[in-house]
């Protein structure tokens, strides 16, 4: 019994890592955006755009790679819209982010009309000879598809970019004090625009992971609030990439737990179990936000503030 229990652990961990992947993409992208001082609440909309475009490209080309690329592009285009409005036209970031989500939900349903319920092949797994056959660790870590590894690799990559490169230093400086960065000659708006595009592309990838690998299919509103959970994850991570990974796995774990509980025919209704990830988000958010000192030390000081170079 004990040995069997342990053996289940492998697939459970694997499922957790898979469930965490869309969140990881979206949250890492948003983290970079917020580090540059911009709050883009449109993650949910960009994820949906990525999910639907990725799916359509995949169906029409048969290529997963092109599907993901198309999704990243779609997310970036949506983000560009946000960038033009908030950076060039100085629109309120909160309102514009909400608009992006509302627009993205509608647009994705419209574009994806003919694709609801269409089957597509799975993304192939990358098997590492030897390692993939190990008990527990094998299925948990070495039986995933490429986008999962890419997402995991993004964690150190984003961390390295932000804290080890000059471009990352400039990006952090812009988010910390945009007036000073401007006075030193850095192009605040240009840097922010690039960050916003990156965030959009990552959200698009996250969405595409849902429609191409996780589900895999297209359904209206299929992100089911994951974009918002990703936003909460960035706060939970106190703007640190490694902690985003931790948070994403935590949520992956909650999601899987809830699915397994449903599968095991627990006496609790499935709707009540489905509330768990959302309630967990609230709990986690509260736990972090109550430490005001910590938030102040880590949150980019210019987050959400409008910058006009001649003002």
């Amino acid at each position: 019994m004990n040995g069997e229990g342990l053996l289940i652990l492998g697939p459970v961990l694997a499922a957790m890592i898979t469930a965490a992947t869309p969140l990881l993409y979206a949250a890492l992208g948003e983290l970079v955006v917020e580090k540059s001082g911009v709050l883009n609440l449109g993650v949910e909309g960009m994820m949906l755009a990525g999910a639907v475009i990725g799916f359509i490209v995949m169906v029409n080309t048969g290529s997963h790679t092109l599907g993901f690329a198309g999704a990243a592009l779609a997310g970036a285009v949506m983000a560009a819209l946000f960038g033009v409005l908030t950076l060039l036209l100085l629109a309120n970031q909160v309102a514009t982010g909400l608009a992006l989500t509302l627009f993205g939900v509608g647009l994705a349903s419209l574009v994806g009309q003919g694709y609801v319920g269409r089957p597509i092949p799975d993304v192939p797994e990358l098997r590492v000879p030897g390692l993939s056959d190990l008990p527990i660790v094998g299925p948990a870590l070495f039986g995933h598809d490429l986008p999962v590894y890419l997402a995991l690799a993004l964690v150190p990559a984003v961390s390295w970019f932000l804290y080890r490169t000059r471009a990352g230093l400039v990006l952090r400086a812009v988010g910390e004090n945009h007036s000073a960065a401007h006075a030193l000659g850095y192009k605040v708006l240009g840097i922010r625009f690039l960050a916003v595009l990156f965030g959009g592309a990552m959200s698009g990838m996250g969405g595409a992971y849902l429609s191409l690998a996780y589900t895999p299919m297209w359904a209206e509103g299929m992100t089911a609030g994951r974009g918002w959970i990703a936003l909460a994850l960035v706060v939970f991570a106190t703007w640190k990439p490694e902690r985003v990974l931790l948070g994403a796995w935590l949520f992956g774990g909650v999601t899987i737990m809830q699915l397994h509980a449903q599968g095991m025919g627990l006496a609790v209704s499935s709707q009540l179990l489905s509330m768990l990830p959302y309630l967990a988000t609230v709990v986690v958010l509260v736990a972090i936000s109550r430490d005001v000192t910590r938030i102040r030390l880590n949150a980019p000081a210019c987050l959400g503030k409008v910058f006009h170079p001649e003002a």
Binding site: R172, N177, S179, A183, L184
Partner: protein, 515 residues
């Protein structure tokens, strides 16, 4: 043999902003190795001119010559490549980054971080500007922050160093040290453009001075052959008025008493107050000096009631403990308050002057009845303030942000004074305000005190405190020194206190007797 070409020559520089001509055909010549002062009132166009030199702004017309060659300076990067460095008045620093990272951001080719740290140590040793490259900026004092800015410039061997109001945040002793550094740089051939409105300093360090007024150059002179008064009159273009302090202070009953006030904060950037005690009596003005960031903001917040104090008896108004009362309740007891930030605390930028009159006027004027706002009365209150304090504006409908700094400050101070307060607390009454408005504000504060109110002025400007105050105390690292009668102390003595030469046990015991 011909003289070397000027390091920098500006000809006919003109810059227009919507509604104003900030620079009107300005000529300026800076020679190698000279310390050149750029003086003028707030709004005279000094900042605009140096931003053009540093490539932050671009002139609408005019030419710039560098070492005899005509150049364009499209960006600060280009300026730094030419050898121009700038120390900003509001430091261009990033609080949560380290000293080394801050410096790297201001360099064109910072190289690897490890080498940079070594170079920072070398330069700071050479010029006696002690700095630890690994510390975070939010941990540094204001003087240390300025050192970061200076070291950042020195690391690229500048041939022109622009210093924008460098001493406004320093103690007199730190100023002396800064001057030694500047003289040494000048001796090494670096040109220094020194922007200030502190005329005694300019006479102490500058070889030449260019005076700006209303965007135009009105004079170029040798400041050592001028008096501070003649320089000031060149700046203002009118005779200098000194406030009328007739009528000796009548030591009335204590209106404000602060006893052993201590604060804590969840803001990691705050300076906590430690055992602060003071007393202001009816009819007198108490000045509180100190370098910014030594607890002024926390003291103001505790006095105004924006932050409540655990020990309610630590603050008393007319003998009543008020530490637990919010701003409204304190106002009802006769308290009035002018915060340091005008736009964004003392006034709401987007609201009209009548709405801004309501902002604090509601507590002591009959502007609200039964939960409803009496907008007619708010309007006439605003009009009364505008009339009584000569506020230049487009009437009570004008948005607060459309007023000049001086006029907005007159409006805010007027709004508080017309409520006939028994106690007024003012932060930085004339910071960034033109001379005319500053004189009017000083006179209004003196008149208020002579009328029997108690006035507490918190300011970083020592000249102002010496003009206004009957007594002066100094805030340092959250502690307040005992106060000294103004005519029994000197700028040097206050300067030493600003540098922290107090806080002994003896000092604390004396507070009760002296205040």
């Amino acid at each position: 043999m011909t003289a070397p070409p000027p390091r920098l020559a500006l000809r006919g520089i003109t810059k227009r902003f919507p509604g104003t001509l900030a620079n009107d055909s300005v000529d300026l010549t800076l020679l190698p190795g000279e310390v050149h002062a750029l003086v003028g009132e707030n709004g005279a166009g000094k900042s605009t001119l140096v931003k053009i030199i540093y490539g932050v702004l671009h002139a609408d017309a005019g030419t710039i010559e560098w070492d005899g060659r005509e150049v364009t300076i499209p960006s600060p990067h280009a300026a730094r490549r030419l050898g121009i460095g700038m120390v900003f008045q509001h430091f261009s620093l990033f609080d949560t980054l380290t000293v080394a990272e801050n410096i790297a951001l201001g360099l064109e080719a910072p190289g690897p971080m490890k080498d940079l740290a070594a170079r920072i140590r070398a330069v700071s040793e050479r010029y006696g500007l002690a700095l630890d490259p690994g510390r975070h900026v939010f941990d540094l004092s204001v003087g240390e922050r300025q050192r970061v800015e200076i070291v950042r410039c020195l690391l690229q061997d500048p041939r022109l160093l622009i210093m924008d109001e460098p001493t406004s945040v320093l103690t007199p002793q730190e100023v002396t040290r800064l001057f030694e550094t500047l003289k040494r740089l000048a001796a090494e051939g670096c040109t220094i453009l020194y922007i200030s409105h502190k005329l005694e300093e300019i006479r102490a360090i500058c070889d030449r001075a260019t005076v700006l007024r209303g965007g135009k150059v009105v004079a170029t002179c040798n400041p050592r052959q001028e008096t501070a008064r003649s320089l000031a009159e060149m700046m203002i273009g009118a005779e200098l008025t000194t406030p009328d302090r007739a009528g000796a202070p009548v030591a009335g009953a204590p209106r404000l008493e602060v006893r052993h006030l201590a604060t804590t904060s969840d803001n990691p950037f705050a300076t906590n107050l430690v055992d602060v005690s003071l007393e202001v009596r009816a009819g007198e003005i108490l000045g509180i000096a100190g370098v910014a960031g030594n607890g002024q903001a926390e003291l103001m917040a505790a006095l105004s009631g924006e932050v409540l104090v655990a020990d309610e008896a630590a603050i008393r108004i007319d003998g009543r403990p008020v530490g637990h009362l919010g701003p409204r309740a304190r106002r009802e007891l006769g308290f009035a308050f002018v915060p340091e930030e005008r736009l964004g605390r003392g006034a709401v930028p987007e609201l009209s002057l009548s709405e801004n009159a309501l902002l604090s006027g509601y507590a002591r004027e009959p502007l609200v009845r039964g939960g409803l706002v009496h907008f007619g009365r708010a309007r006439s209150y605003a009009e009364r303030i505008i009339g009584a304090f000569n506020v230049v504006s487009r009437g009570h409908r004008a948005e607060a942000r459309s007023l000049s700094g001086g006029n907005l400050q007159k409006f805010i101070i007027g709004r508080e004074i017309l409520q006939k307060p028994k106690l007024l607390v003012v932060g930085q009454p004339t910071w960034g305000v033109d001379a005319g408005a500053a004189a009017a504000i000083h006179q209004a504060l003196i008149d208020l005190a002579r009328g029997g109110a108690a006035v507490l002025v918190v300011s970083q400007d020592l000249d102002e405190l010496f003009v206004l105050s009957d007594r002066i105390a100094v805030l340092f690292h959250g502690r307040l020194s005992e106060s000294r009668p103004t005519h029994h102390t000197t700028v040097e003595e206050i300067g030493l206190l600003m540098g922290g030469l107090f806080g002994t046990a003896a000092d604390d015991e004396e507070v009760g007797r002296v205040a």
